[in-house]
C-alpha cells in the first residue's frame, strides 16, 4: 500500500516532519515502511522533447539513434535502448549535465562510435510509475523545452510503501493511514464533505437495486452520473496514481481508482444504456453459470461466487472481483451507474483465489471494507467527476442486506494493564482509542468501559482486539520491559542430552554432520534398494521434492555422490533426522534415525562404530546378527540389536546401488532408530573392584565354520569362562587352504583373574578347558594346534 505525504495531509494538514521519522512512527503503529522514496526530486535538467527521427545504429542492434528537438528547433542525436517511440511523440529528455534521481550523471558520450547528447527516460527512471521497459510517452499538448516538472505539475513529495497486515482493513486507504498517524501525532484529522451538485431526474427513477444474497451483500449504493468525461483524467490525478503504482487509463477508470486509494472503497461503473431499466440485482451464481468478464475471459461460476445481475437475471458482473464485458463503459458512454457495495470478505477471498483474480479491489474486500463509507465514496467520485464536466442525478440508491448491529465490547481496565504490562488510567485508554474512532463510554464508578467498534475495523470484535489497539497507539516501545521469573530449572531432557552425546561422539570420531534435504524424488528409495515410495507430498513444486523418506540412506548416498563427483573420496558423514517408515494413527509414524556413512571403509568399520556408540550410551546387550538387509551387500550386512531387540542395520552398501550413485569405493553403513535405541534398556554393568591380584592370559585359536559369527564364539567363551574370565577379545582372523573351504581361524585372548587371590595353574587350566569344550561342542569348531 503506497501513500503520498501530500495526500495524507489532505486529511491531516499538520502531519509534518522528517520523512525518516514519519516512517519510524508508521512502523511503530504497525505499518512497516518497506520503502521510503522521494517523488519529483532530481527532475532538474529533464525537459520535454519531440522525436524528429529514428534510425538504426550502424554498429549495434540493441540501441538505435533518435533525433529529438528540445525546443530550440535543432536536431539533437541521442542513443536509446528502447524502441517504443514514434516520430512526433513527446518524450522526457535528460539533458547533458543532469543528475538523475538515482545519482547517475548524464554526460555527452560516444556509444559504439555514435554521439549521445543526453538520455531519454522511462517512467521508472524519473519516479513516474513502474515501467522500466519503454520511454515515457507524454501527452501532445506540452511545450518543447519546458522542464518536465513544470510541464506536468509535479511537486516534490514523499512516498511511503507500507506493509499492511490482514487485521488492518482501515489502513488500505490514504484516509485510514492519515487517521492512525494523526492520532499518534496528536494532530487534527478530518474528512471533507464532498460538494455534489445534483441535477436532473432523481436517481431512484432511473435505477434500482435488489439484493437476493443479503449476507453476501450488506449494502449496495448507487449513484447515477451523466455527461461522464471520456478523455484523460487531470494531470494532478494521473501524477498521484502513477506515484502509487497505478497506470492512468482514462478519466472514469482513474476516478474509480483514485476514490478507492483515497477512501478504501472499491467501486464500479456500468454504462447505463447497457443496463435495461437501470435495474441491478445481487445473488449467488448458479452452478455452471458463465460470465464474460471485462478482460474478455469466460468464467465458469459456482454457487460460492456472488454476481450482479440485470433485469433478466443475467449475470453482468462478478461482485467485488471484476465487472462484466456486456456493460463496460466506452468512449460513447454518457451516463453511468456508479456502484459502491460491501461484500462478504470470505466469499470474495475464495472467488478471487479460485479464479486467480486478486486485485487492489479484492484485497480491500477480503480484509473487510467499511460499509459506512459507501455514501462518501459515491459523493467523492461525483465531486471529482463534476470537475470534469459530469452531472449527478439527485439522490442515492442505498439497498441494504443483512447488516449486523455495531458491536459493543466491554473492556476491563485491569485486564488491559494486565495484558500489556502498563499502568494506564481509564481516561488514558479512552484517550488513545477515541482518535482512531473507537467510541468509548465510561460510566459510574467503574474503571471498565464500553467500546463501540468503528465500521472500518471489521477485524475487531472482542476485548483483546481493543487491548491491542490501546497497546498499539500507546506504543510498544513505551511499555516497561520485565523478565518473567520462573521457579523451573531450565534443562534438556535426557533424550536431548543423549542426542548431543551421540553427535559429540561421532564428530570426535572424525565424522561430520550432513543435512540432506528430507524430500526424495519418486524412485529414489527403490534406487537405494529400499522398496516402494512412502508418504507423498500432494502439492510439491517439483517432483524431486515429492516423497517423504523412509530411511536416511538415499540422502546420505546422494551427499556422498556429490562429493565423489568433486573428487573427494573417503568421506564420512552422519545425519540425525526424522523418517516415516509407514504405519501410524492420526498421524503417520515418525521416527528419529541416526545414520552413518563411511566411504572407503569395510562393513566391520560400521560394527566398530556401533560398538563404540552402544558402549557410549551404555546400551544393554548390544549385538550384531549377520543376515541380508535390503540395499546392503548381501554377504556383508546385519541387524543391530539393543537388549536383544532389533534397532537398525549395518553393513556395506550394495555394490549395485553404489554403481547407480557412481561411487567407486566400498561404503560402510549404519542406521539405527535413535528413539528406539535411547529407549532400550541402558545401564552400566554393576561395579566390580579391580582385582589386586595378578591375572593370567590365555590365547585360544579355533577353526570355526563361516556360518558361526565371531560374536557367537565370543559369547560362548564368556559364558563358559564363568566368574574367573575377566575379558575375552578377538585378536586374529585368517583363512587358508589348510583350514578348508567355509572355515576360518579365530584367535582370542582370554584374561582370567579372581578378586581375592592369585589363580593357580590348575584353576586357569580348568577354566581354559571349559572354554575349549564349550566352543568345540557348541559351534562345530576345533581347537587349533
Amino acid at each position: 500500500m503506497k501513500v503520498l505525504l501530500s495526500w495524507l495531509r489532505e486529511f491531516a494538514p499538520d502531519i509534518d516532519g522528517d520523512p525518516e521519522q514519519l516512517a519510524e512512527v508508521l512502523a511503530d503503529l504497525g505499518l512497516a515502511v518497506e520503502e521510503l522514496s522521494h517523488v519529483g526530486r532530481g527532475l532538474d535538467g529533464i525537459v520535454i522533447a519531440e522525436v524528429l527521427a529514428t534510425r538504426p545504429h550502424p554498429d549495434a542492434d540493441r540501441i538505435h539513434l533518435v533525433d529529438v528537438d528540445a525546443g530550440d528547433g535543432e536536431a539533437l542525436q541521442v542513443c536509446c535502448g528502447a524502441f517504443n517511440m514514434a516520430v512526433g511523440d513527446l518524450v522526457p529528455l535528460a539533458t547533458v549535465g543532469t543528475t538523475m534521481p538515482n545519482g547517475i550523471e548524464i554526460a555527452r558520450r560516444k556509444m559504439r562510435g555514435e554521439w549521445s547528447n543526453g538520455m531519454l527516460c522511462s517512467g521508472a527512471e524519473i519516479g513516474m510509475g513502474d515501467d522500466h521497459e519503454g520511454i515515457l510517452i507524454l501527452e501532445q499538448d506540452l511545450s518543447l523545452g519546458l522542464p518536465l516538472a513544470e510541464a506536468l505539475g509535479i511537486h516534490p513529495d514523499v512516498l511511503f510503501d507500507l506493509e499492511v497486515n490482514p487485521n488492518r482493513p482501515d489502513a488500505m486507504s490514504v484516509m485510514g493511514v492519515a487517521r492512525d498517524l494523526a492520532a499518534r501525532m496528536g494532530v487534527p484529522f478530518s474528512v471533507a464533505v464532498p460538494d455534489v451538485n445534483q441535477t436532473g431526474t432523481p436517481a431512484a427513477e432511473r435505477a434500482s437495486v435488489s439484493i437476493a444474497a443479503p449476507d453476501f451483500c450488506q449494502r449496495f449504493g448507487v449513484r447515477v452520473l451523466d455527461n461522464v468525461p471520456s478523455g484523460a483524467s487531470p494531470r494532478w490525478m494521473a501524477n498521484r496514481l502513477l506515484a502509487v503504482g497505478q497506470r492512468p487509463i482514462n478519466a472514469v477508470v482513474d476516478l474509480s481508482n483514485y476514490v478507492m486509494f483515497e477512501l478504501g472503497q472499491p467501486n464500479h461503473t456500468y454504462d447505463l444504456n447497457l443496463v435495461p431499466g437501470g435495474e441491478l440485482g445481487v445473488r449467488m451464481a448458479h452452478r455452471g453459470e458463465e460470465l464474460i468478464t471485462l478482460d474478455g475471459t469466460a468464467r465458469a461460476l459456482t454457487t460460492y461466487d456472488g454476481v450482479i445481475v440485470n433485469r433478466d437475471d443475467e449475470a453482468i458482473g462478478l461482485a467485488g472481483i471484476m465487472g462484466g464485458a456486456s456493460t463496460e463503459i466506452s468512449t460513447d458512454t454518457r451516463s453511468v451507474l456508479l456502484e459502491a457495495a460491501w461484500w462478504d470478505p470470505m466469499t470474495i477471498a475464495r472467488t478471487a483465489r479460485r479464479l486467480g483474480l486478486r486485485s487492489e479491489a479484492s484485497a480491500r474486500f477480503e480484509r473487510g471494507a467499511d460499509p459506512d463509507i459507501i455514501p462518501l465514496a459515491l459523493d467523492r467520485f461525483a465531486e471529482l467527476a463534476a470537475a470534469l464536466g459530469s452531472t449527478t442525478a439527485p439522490g442515492m440508491i442505498d439497498a441494504a442486506g443483512n447488516r449486523p448491529e455495531p458491536s459493543t465490547v466491554r473492556v476491563r481496565s485491569r485486564r488491559v494493564n494486565s495484558i500489556l504490562g502498563t499502568d494506564l488510567s481509564t481516561s488514558e485508554m479512552t484517550g488513545l482509542l477515541e482518535p482512531i474512532g473507537f467510541a468509548c463510554e465510561t460510566g459510574g464508578d467503574s474503571q471498565d468501559f464500553n467500546v463501540t467498534i468503528p465500521s472500518w475495523r471489521l477485524d475487531s470484535a472482542t476485548e483483546i482486539d481493543v487491548i491491542e489497539e490501546v497497546g498499539r497507539l500507546h506504543g510498544f516501545s513505551k511499555i516497561a520491559r520485565t523478565v518473567p521469573v520462573t521457579e523451573q530449572a531450565g534443562a534438556l531432557t535426557s533424550q536431548q542430552l543423549d542426542r548431543r552425546q551421540v553427535r559429540a561422539l561421532l564428530t570426535g570420531m572424525g565424522i561430520s554432520e550432513a543435512m540432506p534435504l528430507p524430500f526424495l524424488a519418486p524412485g529414489d528409495l527403490a534406487a537405494a534398494g529400499l522398496g516402494d515410495d512412502g508418504i507423498t507430498v500432494t502439492n510439491p513444486l517439483v517432483a524431486e521434492e515429492s516423497i517423504m523418506r523412509t530411511s536416511l540412506r538415499p540422502g546420505l548416498l546422494k551427499a556422498l555422490a556429490y562429493n565423489a563427483a568433486r573428487r573427494t573420496t573417503g568421506v564420512s558423514l552422519f545425519e540425525i533426522g526424522r523418517v516415516n517408515p509407514g504405519g501410524g494413527g492420526d498421524l503417520p509414524d515418525e521416527h528419529e534415525h541416526l545414520a552413518v556413512i563411511l566411504a572407503g571403509q569395510e562393513a566391520t568399520a560400521a560394527t566398530t562404530l556401533w560398538r563404540r556408540l552402544a558402549r557410549h550410551l551404555t546400551v544393554t546387550r548390544p549385538g550384531v546378527v549377520n543376515g541380508p538387509v535390503d540395499g546392503l551387500h548381501p554377504g556383508r550386512s546385519g541387524q543391530v540389536l539393543a537388549d536383544g531387540q532389533p534397532v537398525g542395520a549395518l553393513g556395506e552398501i550394495d555394490p549395485q546401488v553404489l554403481d547407480a550413485y557412481e561411487i567407486d569405493e566400498r561404503v560402510a553403513w549404519l542406521e539405527v532408530d535413535l528413539g528406539a535405541l535411547l529407549e532400550a534398556d541402558r545401564a552400566l554393568a554393576p561395579y566390580r573392584a579391580p582385582s589386586r591380584y595378578p591375572s593370567s592370559d590365555v590365547d585360544l585359536a579355533f577353526t570355526v565354520p563361516d556360518e558361526v559369527s565371531a560374536d557367537e564364539v565370543s559369547a560362548t567363551i564368556a559364558e563358559a569362562g564363568g566368574e574367573l574370565l575377566a575379558s575375552v577379545a578377538l585378536f586374529d582372523v585368517f583363512r587358508s587352504d589348510q583350514l578348508g573351504e567355509g572355515h576360518r581361524s579365530l584367535a582370542f585372548t582370554l584374561r582370567f583373574e579372581a578378586p581375592d587371590r592369585t589363580l593357580n595353574d590348575a584353576e586357569v587350566a580348568k577354566a581354559r578347558q571349559s572354554c575349549i569344550d564349550a566352543v568345540t561342542a557348541t559351534h562345530n569348531a576345533s581347537l587349533r594346534g
Binding site: I464, L517, T536, Y562
Partner: protein, 331 residues
C-alpha cells in the same frame, strides 16, 4: 700389596677411562669384585695385629667408600650421556603427519540450534518437540486459523497423502508444538521448541522448502507484553552480545494478540528483522484447554537458518544443504 689410597687413585683413573656403562661394569668388578685387590686386602686383615688390623680396616673401609662413590658418580654420568644419546637418536619432525584431520564437524544449523537452546535453558526454559508431519488442527485450527481463513494462505503449505485430503500437512511453523505443550502440561509453562518446518517454496539464496525455527512459549499467572519485550531483550543480549538491542513493532498473527514483529539493532545502528511474537490469543488458550481468565502468556518465534548464515558469514541458504565436505569442514 697396594695401599688403599693407591686403589682409590686407580679406581678414579679407570672409571674416568670407561666410556660406556658396560666398561664401567668391568671396572667395578675389577675394583670391588671378589678378585679385587680390595677384597684381597680385606681377607689379609685377619692375619694382622689387632691395633694394626683396626687401623688398616678403617683405611680399607674408607677406600671402599671412596671407590663406590667414584663408580656411582661415573655411572650416573655415563647413564645420562647414554639417555641423551638415545633421545638425540629419536629426534622426530613433529609435522611429519600423514593421518588427516580426524575431527568431524557439527552442521552449522545444529551449532546454531544448540547455542539457542543453551541460551534459553540458561533462562529457565525446557525444550519441547513435536512431529514434523502435523495435523491441520495443530498447525492451524488450534492456533485460531479457522477453516477457510485467508491467513492460512500466508503459509504456502505442503500437504501429504495421509488420512482425509487436506488434513495432514508438513508443519509450516513450530507453533503446533505450543498447542501440544499447552494440551499436555499444566501452567506455568516455560518452553522453547526448535524444529524443522516446511513450505512450498523454490530453492534460492534466501528460500528453501525446508527450514528451521525456534519457538518460545511462556504461560503464567500474569505474563504481560512487557514480559515479552523484556524476554526478547534478555535473549538478544545473551545470544548476540553487548551492544545489541531489540524492538517490537505491531503486527498480525492469528494465534497472538497483540502481535508484533521483533527486530534486533546491531551496534552500528542497523536493524535485523528477526521474528514474530505476541500475547497468546484467548482462542488458542481455549482450544488447548487453558482458561484465559486464569492464565496469560506470550509466544515468539524466529528462523534458525538465517541466524546461522549471519553467524558464519554464509551468503546462500542452499549451501546449507549441499553437504559438500569442503563446506561442512569449515565450521
Amino acid at each position: 700389596m697396594a695401599e688403599p689410597e693407591q686403589l682409590v687413585v686407580e679406581a678414579e683413573r679407570r672409571a674416568a677411562a670407561a666410556t660406556t656403562l658396560d666398561e664401567l661394569g668391568a671396572v667395578r668388578t675389577a675394583m670391588t669384585g671378589k678378585r679385587s685387590p680390595l677384597v684381597a686386602a680385606r681377607k689379609a686383615l685377619g692375619d694382622m695385629e689387632p691395633d694394626a688390623r683396626k687401623q688398616a680396616g678403617q683405611a680399607l673401609n674408607a677406600a671402599k667408600a671412596s671407590i663406590d662413590e667414584i663408580l656411582s658418580a661415573r655411572e650416573a654420568e655415563l647413564a645420562a650421556a647414554a639417555r641423551a644419546q638415545q633421545l638425540a637418536a629419536e629426534r622426530l619432525d613433529l609435522t611429519e603427519v600423514t593421518e588427516q584431520s580426524a575431527s568431524g564437524h557439527l552442521h552449522v544449523i545444529t551449532q546454531t540450534w544448540q547455542e539457542l537452546e543453551d541460551v534459553f535453558v540458561g533462562m529457565g526454559y525446557r525444550v519441547a518437540e513435536g512431529p514434523e508431519i502435523e495435523s491441520e488442527w495443530y498447525n492451524f485450527g488450534a492456533l485460531n486459523f479457522p477453516l477457510g481463513h485467508p491467513a492460512r494462505d500466508m503459509y504456502d503449505t505442503l500437504y501429504v497423502d495421509y488420512g482425509e485430503p487436506g488434513t495432514t500437512l508438513l508443519r509450516t511453523h513450530t507453533s503446533p508444538v505450543q498447542a501440544r505443550v499447552m494440551e499436555n502440561q499444566e501452567p506455568p509453562i516455560y518452553v522453547v521448541a526448535p524444529g524443522r518446518c516446511f513450505r512450498q517454496d523454490t530453492a534460492d539464496a534466501t528460500h528453501m522448502p525446508v527450514f528451521h525455527q525456534i519457538e518460545g512459549l511462556v504461560v503464567d499467572r500474569d505474563t504481560t507484553l512487557g514480559d515479552l519485550a523484556g524476554t526478547i531483550e534478555a535473549f538478544t543480549a545473551a545470544y548476540f552480545g553487548p551492544g545489541f538491542s531489540s524492538r517490537l513493532r505491531p503486527s498480525y498473527f492469528p494465534f497472538t494478540e497483540p502481535s508484533a514483529e521483533f527486530d534486533i539493532q546491531r551496534p552500528d545502528g542497523t536493524w535485523l528483522e528477526l521474528g514474530g511474537c505476541g500475547m497468546v490469543h484467548p482462542n488458542v488458550f481455549e482450544a488447548c484447554g487453558i482458561d484465559p481468565e486464569q492464565w496469560q502468556g506470550f509466544a515468539f518465534g524466529f528462523g534458525i537458518d538465517r541466524l546461522a548464515l549471519i553467524r558464519f558469514g554464509i551468503d546462500d541458504l542452499r549451501e546449507l544443504w549441499t553437504n559438500d565436505i569442503r563446506f561442512l569442514e569449515q565450521f
